[in-house]
């Protein structure tokens, strides 16, 4: 069994813990933090998938896009809440 696959499955199960916080979490801030953490985990899972399929240079590009859009999305959500005055 591939060690990358093992680690990927472990991270995948951790995503569900974050998903619980994102769905039931009290308040908007918990949800935003949970979504951001899920994005970070998805990034690492993508890199591990690159190792599994032996196409790392391809999956690095995808994970970088994921990191950038995750960062911008979190900031945009925070800005929206700040402008709306819900904090």
């Amino acid at each position: 069994m591939n060690i990358f696959l093992l680690f990927g499955m472990g991270l995948f199960s951790l995503v569900f813990l974050c998903l619980y916080r994102a769905v039931f979490g009290p308040g908007v801030l918990n949800r935003i933090a949970a979504i951001s953490a899920i994005g970070t985990k998805a990034l690492v899972i993508l890199l591990l998938m690159g190792f599994i399929y032996n196409r790392v240079e391809m999956f690095v590009d995808i994970s970088m896009v994921y990191a950038l859009l995750n960062f911008i999305g979190t900031i945009t959500a925070a800005k929206y809440l700040e402008m709306k005055g819900e904090l």
Binding site: M58, D61, M64, V65, L68, I72, I75, T76, K79, M83
Partner: protein
Amino acid sequence: MISITDDIIIRAVARILIPFIQVYALYVIMHGHHSPGGGFQGGVILGASFILYLITHGLEEAKEKMSELKAGLLSTFGILLYSGIGLLCLIMGRNYLDYGGLSTILKVVPAQARSLGILGIEIGVGITVMAIMFSVFFDISTGGILPEDEEDLGVNR
């Protein structure tokens, strides 16, 4: 209206990150035939970089880099590039967007002409997607009312 953020960390990080995001977006557009990505994905990243600038530096400064007029012109220019290449193929006696016909203009073998043709198409798509992304975000964030219009309409916000 989005004003400049008073958080110094976000402003400094965005300031340093934006040029790299833009280079990365152009890399995704230009290397669409070697690695994942292409015109649409690169255009989305390029638009996201402008949106990040708008969020962190406010509407006033963002209008100097990318205004609504510029976005509209760029979106139509992208479509012009796309359809222009397609029509050029049609004029050369092939089907619409059949890039093999460009080989006589570019003076290369048809395979390379196909590669260059699809690069031009992707640049056009990227420009259009970037401009439309920015334009949509601009319209939603301002509610369609620009600050200079507010005085005319007497809107208080």
